[in-house]
């Protein structure tokens, strides 16, 4: 038995760690086109800001591969998979045989066709090498930056660039920032904070053309405005990194379609993380859920099943915890429902600059957004996960001090004691 994993991020970790819980012997091979051992992509903005150094980018100890008996083939790109002969083909022409395969190739930046994209100092914002290149440009004197996209990664990029002393403008097509996780009111709170620190926003427009002679000099926006800039960072979003598998018999919708065992339509082939499309228990449909904990869970589930231990995972849904300067937020589930049988609980404490909003449907939490009042938010994400009926406690869900004492005694004790007796 030989396990092969294409990809080397958190879904791969979940897979390796699950396999090694039940199978200490059989070899695991990890193939990655990046030369780094497993590092954290969300930390790239912290690296750029100077908050973490290279040694802290790595999410597992240096002896991780050795300890887990993993052969890490780093700096090798998988270019195709021969599903019939069970082989992964690499860019140097060599082939890697597998008995069980996990595809965990993550996401790649989405960049709309843009004139001038090939100019020097135009970047995307996903990989470690992206921020190393941006860092280099700053060291070479870049003073003004334009970030395209006001989503999670675009704003983390903008925050890092401001911390590095650049003038930063963020361009966003929607009418608000963080449109995928916040409503208008919440988005305003965060935008105010970012503007307070000097970030300039151009909303409801996008980039038309990047102008420069070899190197970027200006950005022309669709609204006609022209901005002087030394660097441009595209951070519009990610799409599953699965181009090399298109046209094969592997079933792909938006991402690689997987069942609750992370199995694809091809025997012995599994997929997990940002490249996979699994079940979303809040939306109740197959979706790509490109978030970190989901990638780990899916990778872990795949790992167990690849090693012959049956496990299911059908509790995935979007959730995010992110902060900019002194504003922190945790959001989960559906944050902009479009049906009218939904109950909305909301509390905006202007003095504390905090905001809590929860959506409830049929007695169950559908989603929430908490800004600057995030303590114990995991209790609510867990309620979404378990589908707990919150009818009797909903009047307390918005309070900062919501806790186990608000749950019925039996339920509270079961959760705390986990069946044991104190």
């Amino acid at each position: 038995m030989r396990y092969v994993i294409i990809g080397n991020s958190v879904a791969a970790c979940g897979c390796i760690e699950a396999i090694r819980k039940v199978d200490l012997q059989n070899p695991i091979v990890v193939i990655s086109d990046e030369k780094y051992r497993v590092y954290s992509r969300p930390l790239i903005s912290y690296y750029l800001a100077g908050k973490v150094d290279e040694s802290k980018m790595y999410i597992r100890d240096e002896d991780y591969y050795e300890k887990n008996k993993v052969e890490a083939m780093l700096g090798k790109r998988a270019v195709s998979v021969d599903f019939k002969n069970k082989e992964v083909v690499l860019d140097d022409g060599s082939k890697v045989k597998y008995d069980k395969l996990l595809i965990a190739t993550g996401g790649k930046p989405f960049v709309p066709p843009t004139k001038g994209f090939e100019l020097k100092n135009v970047f995307t914002f996903i990989k470690f090498d992206d921020v190393k290149a941006i860092d280099e440009a700053i060291k070479n004197g870049a003073k003004k930056a334009t970030v395209i996209g006001a989503g999670l990664s675009g704003l983390k990029a903008a925050e890092a660039l401001i911390k590095r002393g650049l003038e930063v403008t963020v361009v966003e097509l929607a009418n608000r920032i963080l449109g995928s996780i916040l409503d208008l009111e919440a988005s305003k709170i965060v935008q105010d904070e970012l503007e307070k620190h000097g970030i300039v926003f151009k909303l409801e427009t996008s980039v038309d053309e990047i102008i420069g002679d070899g190197k970027v000099e200006k950005v022309k926006l669709k609204n006609g405005e022209i901005l002087d800039t030394d660097i441009v960072v595209f951070a519009i979003g990610v799409v599953p990194n699965i181009d090399f598998l298109k046209g094969t018999e592997l079933k792909i919708n938006r991402g690689i379609v997987v069942d609750d065992h992370m199995r694809t339509n091809i025997e012995d082939v599994y997929a997990a993380g940002d490249c996979a499309e699994g079940y979303d228990c809040v939306y109740q449909q197959q979706r790509v859920i490109p978030i970190w904990p989901n990638a780990y869970d899916q990778g872990e589930t795949a790992g167990y099943n690849m090693a012959g231990v049956e496990k299911t995972f059908d509790r995935g849904f979007p959730m995010n915890s992110i902060g900019f300067f002194d504003v922190h937020m945790i959001t989960a589930g559906i944050v902009m429902p479009n049906s009218d049988d939904i109950e909305v609980l909301v509390k905006h404490d202007k003095e504390k600059n905090s905001y809590r909003k929860i959506y409830i449907k049929n007695g169950r939490v559908l989603g929430f957004m908490f800004i600057n009042s995030i303590d114990r938010a995991g209790m609510i994400t867990n309620m979404i996960k378990e589908g707990l009926n919150v009818e009797s406690i909903k009047h307390r869900l918005l309070d900062d001090d919501f806790g186990y004492l608000d749950l019925p005694k039996e339920l509270r004790q079961e959760k705390i004691l986990g069946g044991a007796k104190a």
């Binding site: 802290k56 902060g323 995991g378």
Partner: protein
């Protein structure tokens, strides 16, 4: 098998002594019993807010029930899976610990902990959680609870 601390809400009187001992044990003193003058120094350092214990005493106005909740050191530890830095990890003996040097304060652990047992630590820089008093051998909250409302058991 991991050791876990269990709160007995029937006998907890909400005295918050567990918090004091917890803060003390995780300070530079790292001792199981409190010396009053050191404690004064410790609390004086924190001008704006009290130092953060790794235990959470739940109480609610109008109710007599109180209890002290710590990390449950879950078998599947969702905080470790959500952690973007690798700071939150499960040790082989079952304990879940946070490497505060590595933590960047993204609070994914707070998002993921079903018990709400992870807190933002001092100056809100790193996650702060019960480590079962790793360096002292036994949890000081259990040892010093005046009413034996906390017990440690292997489960």
């Amino acid at each position: 098998m991991a050791k876990k601390i269990f709160p007995k809400e029937e006998v907890c009187v909400g005295c918050h002594l567990c918090e004091v001992y917890c803060v003390y044990a995780h300070s530079k003193y790292k001792k199981p019993t409190v010396k009053a003058h050191e404690l004064v120094k410790l609390y004086n350092k924190h001008k704006d807010s009290k130092p953060t214990p790794r235990i959470l005493v739940e109480e609610k106005s109008g109710e007599w029930t109180t209890f002290a909740l710590q990390c449950r050191h879950c078998d599947d530890a969702p905080c470790t899976k959500a952690c973007i830095t690798g700071a939150m990890k499960k040790l082989e003996d079952g304990r879940v610990i946070c490497d505060e040097e590595k933590c960047v304060g993204c609070w994914s652990c707070i998002m993921a902990c079903p018990h709400g047992a992870v807190r933002r630590g001092e100056n809100k820089k790193a996650a702060s959680k019960c480590d079962l008093c790793l360096e002292l051998g036994e949890p000081v909250c259990v040892k010093n609870c005046p009413n034996e409302a906390l017990v440690i058991k292997e489960v």
